[in-house]
Each structure stands twice: as C-alpha cells, then as structure tokens.
C-alpha cells in the first residue's frame, strides 16, 4: 500500500513527523510500521507536549519506592508494606460510549496496579459532566456511573471515594478519571524492564479482537461532529476475565518466575512490547501468528494496534514456562509463548515466517518527538467582587440555593451503585473528606481522596494548581492521615493552542510548588490533552489523587457532629474571599474573579497541628472547609448527624456573606468537647495557629444568631432533592 498524505493524517501524524520517521528508519515505513509509529508517537503514549514540563515535578522522597515511569507509583508505608497507585483518564472513550468507556477505564487502571504485584484494595474516580440541562448529560452520567460500578463491583474491589461535578465546559467532552490503589510486599514489586537475552515472551489473558484499534490515537485528537463514528475504537470490558487475570497473575507472582511484566493498555501489544524492550535496552521478536485472536483473518496491523482488554505480556525466567502455563490454565486463560528477547534492539514482527515489520526500539521510545510548545501566561483577571453592586440576598436563601444545586447535592444516588464494602476493610466509606481502607490483617490504614478545582485553575492556573494539591492534602489530614504522595491526571485542551499550553505549564508550576513545600511528591500520573470539541477547549482540570497513612487505625471520627454542646472551633484565617466562589456561581451565575490565595506555610502548620490533635484524642469530628466556605462545611457536619449549631456573627466588622461563604484556604472545623477546649486552645496558641471559637452544637436546629434558624431535617431534604428530581 502506498502511503499517502491522507493516510499519514488519518494516523494522527504530522507530515514533518513522517519525514522524521523516514530518517530514523532510513526508508519508507510499510503500513504496519506506520501504524506502530502512530501508536507510539501520539500524545497519549509519547507525552510529547507535556514531557518537558512534567520533568520539573518533584518525584522523590524517603517514602517513594518507585516514581513516574512505571505502570504505577509505589510508596513505603512502613514494615514490609508498600502501596501502589495511579490515576488515569478515559475521557474520550467515555464520551463516545459511556458504559464501556468508563468500565474499561477502571479495568485499565486496575491492571496497571496489579501488574506491579499489588492486590488492588480501592478504586476512586473523578467524573466531570456538562450542564445537567444539556441533553446528553443524563445518559452520559447514567452510563459512566453504571460502567464504573459494573466493573468494580464485578471484580470485587471497593469503589470508596470520588467526585462528580457538572459544568457547561464539559458539555461536549466529559472527563472520566479512575484511580486504583493496591497493596504489595515491599520486596515483591514487579517491574516492566526486560532483562536477559533469549528470554521467553508470553502473552496471557483474553484473546485479541478488533476492538479499540487506534484508541490511543483517538484519545489524542479533538472531537468534532463525526466523533460518534469512532465507536468501534472504544474497547469492550470484561471484568470477569480481569478477575481471573488478577488472581492468576498474583498466583504466579508468589515465586520468582517473572522477569518483567507489562499490561497491554493504550496501544496494546505495541506499547507493551516496546516499553519492556526499551527499558531493558534489548530487542524483541514477536511471532504474530501465535497471538490468540478472537476474530478470523486478523492482520498483523490489527493485532499490533488492537486495544482488546484484559491482556498482559510477561517475560519469564528460563524453565518456568510449564509452571506458569498451569496457573493460567487453571484460571481458563490463554497462555501463549509469542516471542523472545534478543540483543539487536529492534522490534521485529514475523507473520507466516516472514518479517513483516522491523523498527529500532529507540525510534519508537527515546527518539519519539518531544515538543517545547509555545505557551503564554494567563492574564490576571481584573474582576473584583463588589457585593454592593449585586442584588441583595439573605444568607438562608443563598445557602438553600447552593445545597440544592447539582454540584453540592448529596451524591449517595451515585455512590450507592458502587460496592464500597467488599473486601471488608473499608473503615470510612465515601461521603467523608477521604475514605479509609485498612491494610488487611494489620492495624494500619491508608486514607485516599481525589480532588479538582477547574474554576480556580481556569482563572489563575498557578494558584489553582497549588490549591488542588493543598485541598487534597487537607482532605487526608481531616481524617487523621499523614499525607504521603500523589498521582495526578492532567486533563487539558489542545496543547497546540498556546493559551491551553500556558494553562498546562502554569498549573504544573503551582502543583510543583505545593508538592515540594508539603513533601508530597508525584509518583505516577497521566496527561490527557485534546479535551475539547470544535476548537472549544475545556477548563484546565488537573485532578489530584492522594494517599496518606494512619498508623494506628481506630473508629474514624468522620465529619458528622457527634454531640450537642460541643465547641465549634474554626482553624485558619477567614478573609472572606468570594472570587470564583460557589456563592457567586450558584446565586448570581458569576464565574469571575481570582481564586483564593494559597499560603503554603499556613496550610502546612494548620495541617500538622490537626494531626497532633488527632493523636491526643482531643477531637469529636473534623471537616475541611472548601467550596461553599464555612457555612457549607458546617451544614455538611449537621446534615449527616442531625445535630445543629448555634454560632454568632463574627465580632470584628466583616460582611456576613463574605464570612460564611468565603473560600479562604487552609481552614478546618473542629468539634471539641467543652472539657477539652482548653487543651486544644493551648496547643493552637503555642503553635501560633490562628483560630476562632465560633459557637456550640445544639439539638436539631442550624442557627446563625440574628440571621436564620432551620431544622437539620429540612437541610437534609434540601440537600437530597436534586438527584431525585433528575
């Protein structure tokens, strides 16, 4: 087949990239080779636009066993335990086919984790949809939620935390990010680096079909009217087979049979074989006739580019073939020797005994393009919030509006569709600041949370980037966990647009700064560009997934108030910042202003003192303050418990709306028994922490003195109305 410009373009390659391919090969590629280049050189696999920025992120620390570059990140949680985790996007497939797109997103991230020898113990997700009024939103939401649940419930791993947000910016490009967390023995981590010559390369798992061909290339392009036609490039998930693959792999991992293992994720067999060979500076030769195929007459091109799910590539130690084969046969999975490693540093593909493709490994990996794309700084917004110019609103009305809005309504409608309890180690289920999962048979636990703040990032990407890291950190602190490390999923628009590239670069500057200051390194992650349709890019939406450690787990405090007549202590300074607040958005449809400032020193000091208060058992409940400000956080503490509050207006001259709805950072609410208040205050004072003792809990009524009083049952109803109506 003659390779025309049209064919090159259809493979998502630029003409200059094609010229580069010819130089590297010193000839024209054939059609199969072109397909392989397109799979390896697309944005999704090559990180060509993001690489230069990503390398600035802090990735090291005493707690880090493995940083970015492997299937997932690995951290040390003491004793011989390690936690393996990563987040990944499946945005494009989920928009085209929500159920399968979301399901295979979960399946893919789970494989990344168990490939490394970890048993997955928790799933999380961050999902963003368009406006609830948009005609597609309802079916997309339904599909995505059932897809996430369908996969996780079936494989038997609890889905414990997540976030669901709505905004017009995602009308034509939803975000579906899935995170998986696993537990492994520190000395039993498996990597993807091939070692040794003439070692057996084995294909295990499902058969290869024609599904998902060019999935990674699709995920590297913007959408247009014809996106629906891309349905055949969405993979189909089979959680049942994945469960078998999980158990079979973990069984084989009990001894030392495996040299290297890599899951076939994006770009399937191509990227898995190239990555293993590239990391080991080896060559790899595959006999494609041996690939177990689901359909007849599949061509080498289709086999190499298929993204059929639930498959792995393993390089085995000599003489372990029969032993390994028995395990996979027990689990009714395919096990086929398809090739060998060698020292010629090529990817060599044979079909019917003929060489049908031969590409130097480094041309696909280390010599893949890297772009220093042009970017511009975000112009700071000039908008200043002036409440005097806005229509007057009562505190109570503003609160009701927020509580009943799609973004702040109770989301148990969603979380009740996920099995959160299977494996019986879920100590804190979703709905709290972070979920808590016990390490099986141990007294310790991890806390996990995912967070994003697209509105803040859009307005001021550096501050936004800092803020999400802090918010995530704070959520772990609020359940008594010491934050250890993060994974990030960077969802952005078209990187060829210099504004978008600027948002990316600046968000990363913010993330870097916060991670460095908080000793909260990035150990894994994923970049998803080209989120947009017809030249309209989404808001920059980096998502942070964090993991923290609780050394001695006990019954979690949670954020629900525990008793009446407790003191309510507000930790951190309140300035009343309303720019980019949900107060303005929900009540006035104003989406303007700068996000609240992030003061890393305060953030760190406040967080560390909260952990000390936890250690000394001085708290009844804790909640972090985020969107919606002080009043929304208090409401959440009341709604879950039915216990009300009585707080007075601020003593200093401050606007009540700013005081209650301001989204200033680094703040927490503590519920403290009256006899412990002195102790708590003493610790706060000695550590120079700003706090205010703002009032008491009381029976049933949520009351801001001199403003309004409302029954907590009514708050509950208001908060639960929206989903029922939807």
């Amino acid at each position: 087949m003659k390779i025309t410009n049209k064919i090159i373009e259809n493979h998502g390659l630029k003409l200059n990239e094609y010229e580069n391919i010819k130089k590297l090969l010193k000839r024209e590629p054939n059609f199969l080779e072109l397909g392989i280049f397109s799979a390896m050189w697309n944005e999704h696999c090559s990180y060509k636009s993001s690489r230069l920025h990503l390398k600035n992120l802090p990735t090291k620390g005493r707690q880090v066993i493995q940083g970015p570059g492997e299937n997932a990140g690995v951290i040390d949680i003491g004793d011989d335990d390690a936690i393996v985790f990563k987040i990944e996007s499946h945005n494009h497939p989920s928009f085209i086919e929500p159920y399968q797109g979301a399901a295979t997103g979960v399946g893919g991230i789970l494989r990344d984790v168990f490939t490394m020898g970890a048993r997955p113990i928790a799933l999380l997700n961050s999902i963003h949809f368009g406006s609830p009024k948009h005609p597609k939103t309802k079916s997309l939401l339904n599909g995505v939620v059932s897809g996430i649940g369908g996969y996780g419930n079936c494989i038997g791993i609890p889905t414990v935390a997540g976030e669901t947000k709505f905004d017009e910016t995602y009308n034509e490009n939803i975000l579906v990010n899935a995170m998986a967390v696993g537990h492994a023995k520190k000395n039993k981590i498996f990597y993807s680096k091939a070692k040794g010559l003439d070692k057996t390369v084995v294909y295990v798992g499902s058969k290869t079909g024609r599904d998902g061909i060019h999935g990674a290339s699709m995920a590297s392009a913007e959408f247009d009217e014809k996106s629906e036609e891309k349905k055949p490039t969405v993979q189909v998930g089979d959680p049942f087979t994945e469960k078998l693959l999980l158990e079979a792999c973990l069984e084989l991992m009990k001894d030392d049979s495996i040299i290297a293992i890599q899951d076939m994720g994006a770009a399937g067999l191509t990227s898995s074989s190239v990555e293993m060979a590239s990391k080991g500076s080896l060559g790899i030769e595959l006999e494609l006739d041996k690939i177990p195929c689901r359909e007849e007459n599949m061509t080498p091109y289709e086999m190499m580019l298929s993204e059929s799910q639930e498959r792995m590539l393993i390089i085995l130690e000599d003489g372990k073939e029969e032993y390994a084969k028995k395990i996979f046969q027990k689990w009714d999975l395919d096990f086929v020797i398809i090739g060998k490693t060698n020292n010629d540093k090529n990817l060599t593909l044979k079909f019917n005994k003929e060489v049908v493709g031969k590409i130097p490994i480094d041309a696909l990996a280390s010599k893949a393009p890297v772009y220093n794309r042009e970017w511009v700084k975000k112009k700071p917004t000039q908008y200043k919030v002036d409440l005097k110019k806005l229509k007057k609103i009562k505190v109570e009305d503003a609160l009701v509006k927020i509580l009943s809005s799609p973004n702040h309504s109770n989301k148990s409608w969603i979380t009740n569709q996920y099995d959160q309890m299977v494996m019986c180690d879920t100590i804190q289920r979703s709905g709290s600041d972070a979920a808590i999962i016990r390490i099986h048979n141990k007294d310790k636990a991890i806390a996990v949370s995912v967070d994003s703040s697209a509105n803040y990032c859009k307005s001021h990407p550096i501050t936004g980037g800092k803020q999400i890291v802090c918010e995530n950190w704070r959520n772990l602190i609020a359940v008594g966990a010491k934050p250890l490390a993060i994974t990030n999923c960077l969802n952005f628009g078209n990187p060829e647009n210099k504004e978008v590239m600027g948002e990316f670069a600046e968000c990363l500057i913010g993330i870097k700064e916060a991670c460095e200051y908080l000793n909260y390194p990035v150990v894994s992650g994923n970049v998803s560009f080209y989120n947009g349709t017809n030249n309209k890019n989404i808001y920059p939406t980096p998502v942070i997934g964090g993991v923290g450690l609780i050394k001695n787990v006990s019954k979690p405090l949670g954020h629900n108030f525990k008793k009446i007549k407790s003191n309510i202590i507000l930790v951190g300074k309140t300035f009343g910042h309303l720019g980019q607040s949900c107060f303005l958005r929900e009540n006035y449809s104003i989406n303007e202003g700068r996000p609240p400032e992030v003061n890393l020193a305060n953030e760190k000091n406040n967080g560390e003192i909260i952990l000390k208060l936890f250690e000394k058992n001085l708290l009844n409940s804790v909640h972090d303050i985020s969107n919606g400000g002080l009043i929304l956080a208090l409401c959440e503490m009341s709604i879950g418990s039915g216990i009300g509050i009585n707080i007075s207006k601020p003593k200093k001259l401050r606007n009540i709306l700013e005081y209650l709805f301001g989204e200033d950072q680094g703040r927490y609410i503590l519920e403290v028994d009256s006899e412990k208040v002195k102790n708590v205050e003493k610790m706060l004072i000695t550590n120079n922490i700003y706090y205010e003792n703002i009032g008491l809990t009381q029976n049933k009524y949520f009351e801001i003195e001199g403003e309004f009083k409302i029954n907590t049952n009514d708050l509950f109803k208001i908060n639960n109305q929206w989903y029922n109506d939807f």
Partner: protein, 225 residues
C-alpha cells in the same frame, strides 16, 4: 465445626467469608469449582460475587458446575448450606431453594446498609438471635428482587420458612423499607427442611465494629453450636 467455601471463577466475597469463619473458629477449607469431591463438611457456604461473570443469568452457569452436584448431594443428606448474595442466586438456580431473584426494581446495583428482621429464630442459622430482632446489614447486588409463586409463598408462611424481611429501623415492613422490590420484603429464605438458607444481605460484612457493626456474628455463632 468444619466448613467449606465453594470458590467459583468470579466469586469475590470468598476471602471475606473465610475471614469471618476463621474469626469464629470454624475449621474452614476453600473448594475450587473444578473439584469433583467435597471435603467432609458440616457447613457449605456459597459466597457472593459474580460467578462466571453473571453471564447468561446470575448464578445460572455456577448452578451447572461440576462441584455443584456434590453440594446438592450433601444438601439432600442434611448438610447445612448457606448461600449469600450470588450464593443465594446459585441455590435458586439449582432448585435447592425455590423462587428466583429478579433485577432490582430500580434497575440499578444497590450497595447500602439496610435493616432486616429475624422472622424465625428457631433454626440452626439463627438460634442466637431474638425473634423479630432487627439487624443492620449491608446489601450489594443487582438482582436481589426475590419472587416466587403464590403456592410457595403460602407454604413458606405456613412452615415459617421466611428467614429475614427488609424493614425500617423500627421494624416496620413496608414499601419504603424494601430496597429492591422483593416480594413481601423477603431478604432470605429456608428450604422446607431448614438446612439451607439463602439470603441477599452479607452477614460476613458485619463482624467487625471497626468496619461496620457486629450484627452478623450471631449467625455464625448459631451455626457453631
């Protein structure tokens, strides 16, 4: 007391139930579905999960697997059998329990803590509970909507074969307290000899106060006697 847990491909509550049994001092063994012989057991448990991926119909393929013939033989000779969630579905597929489990009325997977009432505490499974005791217990299923014919329902009423019913925290059995649309709020049933119990809720998830509560413990301690 010797117990055996049958493990099908796709079972996913097998470890959870094993943890519960070991905690309660059962001598437990895991039995792989391809086995054709059962170890000597006083109690056989078919755990929750998605055996064979719920393909065809939940429980349908497991109901025809090689080990299941041995389970049927053991059941007919009076061995105690407990099917939880997917295990209950499998027991109805084998005919050891009558009736069927339809899709939840809201057509969605449901995971939450619900209340159930102990209707009959005079069986080997429930003797440690009080009659009409209310348990708070977790459910997690897509097909938990129990249905059976009028004749069987009458028989169950007459012979006291309904084990548990969904109720509210005060014990009221009504539509509001029915999470999945099950006929008469039925959450678990016995066979006529009362040596087989099938239930949708997960007692093995309720044995540890740190995780949930310990309302499930008495089911296991009843069996220990």
């Amino acid at each position: 007391m010797k117990s055996s847990v049958i493990v099908f491909p796709g079972s996913n509550c097998d470890r959870d139930i094993a943890v519960a049994l070991e905690k309660m001092q059962f001598k437990n063994q895991m039995v792989w579905h391809k086995e054709t012989e059962l170890p000597k057991s006083d109690l056989i448990i078919i755990p929750g999960g998605f055996s064979y991926g719920d393909y065809l119909r939940s429980g349908a393929i497991a109901g025809k697997s090689s080990i299941i013939n041995e389970v049927i033989k053991a059941a007919n000779s009076g061995c105690l059998i407990l099917g939880i969630c997917n295990g209950f579905q499998i027991l109805t597929e084998t005919g050891l329990l009558k009736g069927t489990l339809l899709r939840n009325k809201n057509l969605r997977f449901i995971n939450k803590d619900v209340n159930i009432k102990v209707l009959n505490n005079e069986t080997k499974f429930t003797s440690k509970y009080k009659k009409n005791q209310i348990l708070r217990i977790n459910i997690a299923h897509n097909e938990g909507n129990y249905f059976t014919n009028a004749k069987h329902l009458d028989e169950m009423r007459e012979k006291n074969l309904i084990a548990f019913k969904y109720c509210d925290e005060k014990g009221n059995i009504n539509t509001q307290s029915n999470p999945n649309g099950a006929l008469n709020n039925i959450a678990g049933i016995y066979n006529s000899k009362k040596n087989i119990l099938g239930m949708m809720p997960h007692p093995e998830r309720m044995i540890d106060k740190l995780v949930s509560n310990d309302d499930g413990i008495n089911l296991f301690s009843s069996l220990l006697k």
